[in-house]
Subunit: 383 residues, 2 copies
């Protein structure tokens, strides 16, 4: 499982003392080759954390020999000094591992606007390097948790090759603690361009369609590393599908572990004129606080869904909108449909189907409800 | 005060039995002339309630003799039957008042997706017509409340003329109960075009910049009626300023009465390249749930402000962003600024200043915090 499910990778997760709690807070993932190909996607937020700016540069070369990840501090909004801290982290890892710093990606998560405790971080790298193991994937996944209640890993098996991965995130952005971080590894023999194509295709319909609370982190990072250790070069379609499956699995785990959430909301927009329309409508529904509250209260409030659709620029006729909640078509032709009392909302998963009657495109967005626990988690503790 | 502060207007507010609670739920505002000029602005939501569709047609003629407003039901997402209900309401008021139905505006607020109890509504119109009075403004303001804890009125005096108004709304969209409704009246002698110019200018920088919870109603309606009863034609600038002052006063009252809110958040974006940039940034900050939670917890979490700015398309350099919370510049040049412990957040009003360092334009947006009470109000009661 995790990042060491694929051959050619070692990993470690340790407590470096970055977190005051003494919990694990530093992970190392090392590609032992023979190939060092890599691809990455990063937050679209224009305020990017130092490790994102660093790793974007590293990924331009298409080679990553190791990834250093820390929880306990996002190193975001920390100015030139914060960037120097990231650089020093890469240099330290390069020295410990005998690689070039220009091939070492960095990812951080935690408080925004606070410098990292560099003494602890740098000495932690030596400690982690000493513990690297082909069975270290679980420990690495544990070390990147912030408010996550569980660590998150997934794996997909190909014909003689494997894609594995780990993720952290509790909602798109955790309380005072930033971010979704994902590292995927494969022993398939795929070059950087092939990885990039598979990764962008996969994230576009998985992580990019998770919208727990509408908030975009400064640190979001998804990396895919290939060691080539299986010696097998898969068909691009089969490889892309395996990457997508692992991303989808991890994305669902993120939604399932979102802070304070009591419902996982699956929003399927159907019969849209374009896929962009479907995504825009799905996102608007996903972000409607009044709907999120109503679903928390197990109230199948379809009026909120129509209000949300109405704020978009998607093609639709208000009199031809249909909405189902848990498969009961409570709104037909923009007006009252089947009896809302037929909607059973006892379970954690809620399915909203929004039929735009404007075409044949579709998109699915995952969201969470809005709860007093979410407010509490994000207000009661100073960050 | 209210809609009868200006000469030439009568009003009434009564309990028609639309609300199960027996509380007042029907208001009538009548322009006695000599002029019947009017202007209106309506929700930008593409899913519009029947009374909005009706009143938009009425306003095209530039003449409104009376407004019928009801709480207890939004008449939104009710199909062709709902539109017929609105039409019947206008016909009934026309008959009771001796006017043309084509000059009677209608506004509704309450549950979405439920037909109005027409027997109660229509007989209520007779009752309200019988109680019309030049002192009925307060009663009218009370009759349009839904989850509002107080009724909202304002007045501005010109040189021999007056602008008065009433508003309802508790957040942009109340729980299961929709909407901001506003009726402004003046005895100034201004034609429909002059009213329209003044009203659009005023709402653009007042009601349009209130963003309590990011949710846009299907029923929002702001009407301005002129009787000309003062016989005075004011300078357009002075008139526009009076209309703006009344709108601003009412908008602040809406924010102050937002559901479950414990903070009123004033977001001032300064040094933007364009006013549109300033508004986009202000809105993004206003809608960030994590920031809204943090402010509820009296946590001056400027990292959330930067994260929100980073999601916009406004012109800025991340390294030149400055953010003050209650006048303490906690973020300078995109990084840590003055000591956040200096920020005093004990009071209801919180002031966020976001300096984009990209120009000289500015905009102010008002928002509320996100609280467990908001979640409770919008989830605990089925709607």
């Amino acid at each position: 499982m995790s990042v060491t499910a694929a051959k050619g990778f070692t990993a470690a997760g340790i407590a470096a003392g970055i977190k005051d709690s003494g919990q694990p807070d530093l992970a190392l993932v090392v590609n032992q080759g023979p190939r060092l190909a890599a691809a990455g996607v990063f937050t679209a937020n224009r305020v990017k954390a130092a490790p994102v700016l660093w790793s974007q540069q590293v990924l331009k070369g298409g080679q990553v020999s190791a990834v250093v990840l820390n929880s306990g501090g996002a190193n975001a909004c920390t100015g030139p000094e914060g960037f120097q801290d990231t650089h020093a982290t890469a240099e330290k890892a390069a020295q410990a591992l005998g690689h070039s710093a220009a091939e070492i990606a960095i990812a951080s998560t935690g408080l925004i606007g606070v410098r990292l405790p560099m003494d602890e971080l740098l000495s932690g790298i030596d400690k982690a390097a000493a513990e690297l193991s082909a069975h270290g994937g679980e420990k690495a996944a544990i070390a990147i948790k912030t408010t996550d209640t569980v660590h998150k890993t997934a794996v997909a098996e190909g014909d003689g090759w494997t894609v594995g991965g780990m993720a952290k995130g509790a909602g798109m952005l955790a309380p005072g603690l930033a971010t979704m971080l994902v590292v995927l590894t494969t022993d398939a023999d795929v070059d950087a361009a092939g990885l990039d194509t598979a990764l962008r295709s996969a994230t576009r319909t998985t992580f990019d369609r998770v919208d727990s609370d509408g908030c975009m982190s400064t640190n979001d990072t998804v990396l895919l590393l290939a060691s080539g250790a299986s010696g097998v070069t898969p068909e691009q379609d089969a490889f892309a599908e395996a990457v997508r499956a692992v991303c989808d699995d991890l994305a669902r785990q993120l939604i399932g572990d979102a802070e304070g959430a009591s419902k996982d909301i699956r929003i399927e927009v159907i019969n849209a004129a374009t896929e962009d329309d479907a995504v825009e409508v799905g996102r608007s529904i996903a972000r409607n606080n009044l709907l999120k509250c109503a679903l928390h209260g197990e109230d199948p409030n379809w009026g909120r869904v129509l209000s949300a659709i109405g704020t978009t620029s998607a093609a639709f006729d208000p009199d031809k909108l249909n909405v189902a909640i848990n498969d009961v078509w409570v709104c037909r032709n923009g007006s009252v449909g089947d009896d809302r009392d037929l909607v059973d909302m006892r379970y954690r998963e809620v399915r909203i189907t929004a039929d735009l009657s404007a075409g044949s495109e579709t998109a699915t967005i995952w969201a969470n409800d809005l709860t007093a626990d979410y407010v509490h988690e994000n207000s009661a503790y100073s960050s």
